[in-house]
Amino acid sequence: MYDKDWQPSASLDHLKRRAQFLTEIRRFFYQRDVLEVDTPILSHAAPTAPYLDSFTTQYIAAGGQKTPCYLQTSPEFAMKRLLAAGLGDIYQIAKVFRNGEQGRHHSPEFTMLEWYRPSLSYHQLMAEVDDLLQSVVALPAAIKMSYQQVFSEYLAIDVSTVSEQQLKQLAMSRLTSLPEDWQADKDGWLELLMSELIEPQLASSGCPYIIYDFPASQAQLAKLHRSEDGNTVAARFEVYAQGLELANGYDECLDAEELSQRFTEDNLIRQQQGKATMPIDQHLMAAINSGLPACTGVAIGVDRLLMLKLGVKDINDVTSFRFEQS
């Protein structure tokens, strides 16, 4: 007897809706004159972010010589090289891979929509994300709030002055599920409060929320700038809708020196946690150094968008086969 595991995890109807959905996304960008690109999935370098784990593999040459390779966690680095080369506004729908991430909203392999806009400012890009969510997913208009505002409104915390100790006390008193020996740094506590106390409140309204101007310590590849209230923050935004984290966007950092420093610090954290350090993408560094045009960029989980559109709760209901069946 064969088991039934060969069958798709999504219904045939959902797979047809998926195909239609991808067409609508492509139409959205075609109408805006954004060029579709596709870049290598397999890379000799990998992101250094401490909590992002690449799948690693090897290229074995005919003579047996082995070269380590990584499956991309996002097409970001290759797309930035295309930007530096002068290709202009570009987008990509790519398969990406993240080791160790699996759950109702996560699959180790998923589909990412990522686009870069030399012609749009930080706030214009947020508006474009909102347009996409409204026209392609049929969500209501997004509500925009800064990271500072959202913490002040929902938790009465001033993020620019709050101490690590105060965050810890708040988390410990409000999150009864947290063991007493929970360890985190300031960003760790902020992330926990965001996901466990703020996001559930944002989810209940049904509207997407665009949260912008993250703490400078969570800049990733975003540039730092001055916020409306005069603090130095990261020009980074995230989009949340109905309990799903949908998108992460930046006004891109153009300073190779600064990025190189962040990557080195990342690798140090990886080392402290007993994780393998990642080879910094020297082609990316060279491209940025040669002159990455001022640009904004954002990455969105396509499967999660489709989950919202179809009203389903499990990512495997919108993908042809779940990871265990792949």
């Binding site: 992002l52 160790g100 991430e101 759950g103 947290l178 466990e196 969570q218 984290e245």
Partner: protein
């Protein structure tokens, strides 16, 4: 003792937490922003029966709990413990009031119950979904009324009280659903 990592968490997994055996009801993988992933776990403490939540960092490990489910025959009670017997090895297990709280209205000698054992101690006694029990007390039956309309309370031999149709008489054996404490039909013998 074996241990489980958060990536092995799934509903039904038995593990030790703060010295008590627990069973996972729901496990959710959460990855906030670009931060460290964690697992939000809803579980039942098998000793107290209480449902609780705990957050684990992804990659954390927990000790497995030596919890097994086995079918045992109910023998008798001395008022403090309720004794169950393994019908093949004749080994006896004493369950306390806490362990039989869900099944105490359904305990009948020689009936077989699912007993959850932790290190050989009964944690939980679960009755079968359906049992046949005799009526020991109810208002006189209304003969000929098989419409099932209305109804009346009837006390069964184990002490459970269920609503039964008007035509049911004392001494009749009924098939009862223990999950909803409801009458199903007259038992066929």
């Amino acid at each position: 003792m074996a241990s489980y990592s958060t990536n092995e968490f799934k509903s039904g997994l038995k593990f030790m937490l703060d010295g008590d055996p627990c069973s996972i009801i729901e496990n959710e993988f959460v990855k906030p922003g670009k931060g460290q992933a964690f697992n939000r776990v809803k579980f039942r403490n098998l000793k107290t029966g209480r449902v609780n939540e705990r957050t684990f960092k992804s990659g954390d490990t927990v000790e497995s709990a030596d919890v097994i489910e086995t079918d045992l025959e109910y023998s008798y009670t001395d008022g403090e413990f309720w004794y169950f017997m393994d019908p093949t090895s004749f080994e006896q297990y004493g369950a306390d009031a806490n362990a039989i709280s869900e099944s105490k209205d359904w305990l009948k000698e020689q009936y077989v119950y699912t007993v959850t054992l932790w290190n050989g101690t009964p944690l939980l006694v679960t009755p079968p979904n359906f049992v046949n029990l005799a009526v020991v007390e109810t208002d006189p039956g209304v003969r000929g009324d098989t419409s099932g309309g209305g109804g009346k309370p009837a006390t069964l031999e184990t002490g459970a009280v269920v609503r039964v149709p008007l035509f049911i008489e004392i001494g009749e054996v009924l098939r009862v659903d223990t999950r909803s404490s409801s009458y199903v039909e007259r038992a066929k013998d």
